[in-house]
């Protein structure tokens, strides 16, 4: 059986729900619809169904534990090619070995899933630190990121806890999705038409400069170590860091 779904996590879980009812041994391929249509056209198209999805994830969480559920979600968010069948295998294995999933750690596919999950959570942790908000004229905080994995939904919760009294948005310019928080509710949405000319608040430039100044003066020259810095803070993140783009003024 060939399945197609919309590329979202609930969509994937709906496929799992359907596959469970069709018989898991018949699953041959699960495809992301966005990746393009398949050659034969005989696939079952599954629309995402929140009830189905939540029943799968709830029972997975209940039976296989929160660590396994966390691993599954984070590994999915790593958005690796061909992830669906491997994750499907992970779910089946976890249900088969309830309470003893750690036995399966020797399985290379399970290891693969855990590796993906680890990569995503590492990047989450990194971005929590490396994300930089800029204050817009209306007082909203706006951050641009370009992460390797789809982490915007994963880190948004951290900022709702941290900045509940602020209006803020985190924009993933690679995937065109954003998390927006309006002091009450969090919204994760697609951005189809990004706005270019942003008005920054009048103090923004001042604080940026102060931060750059601080960044420069806190380093000890005698201990300079560019390699160490790069290993902690890879250069791919630099274009979005206030302190590394010190010489550029705010682009409007």
């Amino acid at each position: 059986m060939y399945y197609q779904y919309d590329g979202s996590f609930p969509g994937f879980l709906s496929v799992v729900y359907q596959a469970y009812h069709d018989g898991t041994s018949h699953v041959e391929k699960i495809e992301n619809k966005r990746a393009g249509s398949s050659l034969f056209g005989n696939e079952k198209i599954i629309t995402s169904n929140i009830d189905h999805a939540s029943s799968v994830i709830n029972s997975f969480h209940q039976k296989c534990g929160s660590i396994a559920a966390h691993t599954l979600y984070y590994a999915f968010m790593a958005e690796q090619p061909e992830r669906e069948m491997i994750l499907f295998y992970y779910i089946c294995t976890a249900f088969r070995h309830i309470g003893t999933l750690s036995v399966c750690r020797r399985d290379p596919w399970i290891q693969q899933v855990e590796k993906w999950s680890l990569k995503t959570s590492n990047e989450c942790q990194r971005i929590l630190g490396l994300l930089r908000f800029n204050e817009l004229a209306a007082g909203m905080l706006y951050a641009i990121i370009k992460p390797d994995y789809n982490i915007v939904p994963l880190i948004a919760g951290h900022f709702t806890n941290r900045l509940p009294a602020e209006e803020w948005a985190i924009h993933d310019i690679h995937r065109h999705i954003a998390a927006y928080y309006n002091k009450k509710t969090l919204l994760i949405t697609e951005i189809t038409e990004p706005k270019h000319n942003l008005d920054y608040s009048k103090d923004e430039q001042k604080f940026r400069q102060m931060w750059c100044q601080y960044y420069r003066s806190i380093a000890i020259e005698e201990r300079e170590n560019p390699r160490l810095r790069r290993s902690f803070m890879p250069e791919k993140y630099w274009p979005y860091l206030t302190e590394m783009t010190a010489d550029q003024t705010l682009q409007n």
Partner: protein
């Protein structure tokens, strides 16, 4: 003076403070306040020297009545002096924090008038941040030696972590380099904080709500290489501090020769490698069940700078090795060079379900090129020399320095 200028001077003066961690506190965001603390800590940036920037590390003022010889802010040094007002500190912290530049504030200060007076100013800043600005981010403040205990207690209510600096590893070098500071003035506040923290632990069982007091514990810092103590002395001191005043961390700071003084050593570069070895040994103390006496024995009081302390220990205790990975107790696994806490735990879980094979072992996350000389897997030894620790040391070093064994030249000595 412009605030920009002040920021430059006072952060520059604070850069020799090592500690910049923001971990250990679970402070929650109070209703519509600003910020919270992340228990694991978050690094926000890394400076050009590769050290992480987690907190806004700054001095309240660089005026100082003390004249410690190693310190840039010493009384007799001719530098520009300035101070930040409480409003300026608070404003900077809040604005930086909102923009996710920092995880909180690390405020230290030169001593003006008296330790008590300076601490009162620090308390004022901490109070403004917590009560007026409703700031729940991380605050780390310096406990100043010689401060009254009640003031320390008052400050402790608002901060997450406090640190009283050891400065130098022995009483005699304190006397030589920082004559106005004494060992007892430094130990007393540490001891006081420790007692209060234990009291709190006990109270927690009895009452539901205990007001906050330094939830992330206390740390200290000492300068390495400015005085003549050997490594064993320093490590024993750290061990005692961990045990007796239950510090969270001891920070070591390689002495950067910025000052010249008659009692200071004439160094060209800071002893960075020595500092690194001390940190490695410190980790062995805290996470690997080592004791200071094992790491450095009385007849070898200094580190072998060429290999890390754990490998060094293993080579000196060669009769224990190699250990069988499928049988060795967890504590022994921790002592194998190349196996860390995580991989030791992973080995412990996996071997419950059957013997670990070579292939599985390779994928478990241990540093194979180091560990293989010290272990057997199902009885088979994968290292190069089972009988000769000296040769193994050579092999490890040649791998590190990328020197492959030199091939004999047929025409040696000829041009």
């Amino acid at each position: 003076m412009e605030i920009m200028e002040k920021l430059k001077i006072l952060s520059d003066a604070a850069k020799y403070d090592v500690s910049c961690s923001s971990s250990g506190s679970k402070r929650k965001n109070r209703i519509n306040g600003l910020g919270n603390a992340a228990p694991s800590g978050i690094c926000h940036s890394w400076a050009a020297d590769g050290r992480c920037i987690s907190l806004l590390k700054i001095l309240m003022t660089n005026y100082c009545i003390y004249d410690c010889e190693y310190c840039v802010n010493r009384h007799s040094n001719d530098i520009v002096r300035t101070h930040l007002s409480p409003e300026e500190v608070v404003g900077l912290t809040v604005q930086f924090y909102r923009r996710n530049y920092i995880e909180g504030l690390f405020l230290s200060s030169g001593i003006i008038k008296s330790p008590d007076y300076t601490t009162e100013l620090l308390i004022k800043i901490a109070k403004t941040l917590r009560l007026k600005e409703n700031f729940n981010g991380y605050i780390h403040m310096k406990g100043i030696p010689g401060t009254d205990s009640m003031l320390i207690y008052e400050l402790g209510k608002y901060v997450d972590r406090m640190s009283v600096n050891m400065e130098l590893p022995s009483e005699s070098s304190l006397k030589l380099l920082a004559p106005q500071k004494t060992r007892s003035a430094i130990i007393t506040p540490m001891q006081f904080i420790k007692n209060k923290l234990t009291e709190r632990q006990e109270e927690k069982h009895l009452v539901k709500y205990v007001p906050s007091f330094i939830p992330a514990g206390q740390t200290t810092q000492m300068i390495i290489g400015a005085s003549g103590e050997n490594d064993r002395h320093i490590l024993k001191l750290s061990e005692a501090l961990y045990k007796k005043v239950s510090l969270k961390r001891v920070y070591y700071s390689a002495y950067v020769p910025v000052m010249t003084g008659k009692n200071l050593p004439a160094l060209q570069v800071p002893p960075l490698l020595r500092e690194n070895r001390l940190y490695q040994a410190d980790w062995l103390l805290r996470y690997y069940h080592f004791s200071a006496d094992e790491i450095l024995t009385a007849d070898r009081p200094n580190f072998d700078l060429s290999v890390d302390p754990k490998t060094n220990w293993a080579l000196q205790n060669w009769h224990i090795f190699p250990v069988e990975i499928n049988r060795a107790p967890y504590e022994m696994l921790l002592r194998v060079p190349g196996i860390g806490v995580r991989s030791a735990m992973r080995i412990r879980t996996l071997r419950r379900f059957g013997n670990l094979s070579y292939d599985e072992l390779r994928h478990i996350g241990i540093v194979w090129k180091r560990a293989r000389h010290f272990i057997t897997c199902s009885g088979k030894y994968y290292g190069l020399r089972r009988d000769d620790p000296l040769l193994i040391k050579k092999i490890l070093l040649s791998q590190k320095n990328q020197i492959i064994f030199k091939q004999f030249s047929l025409f040696e000595g000829q041009v």
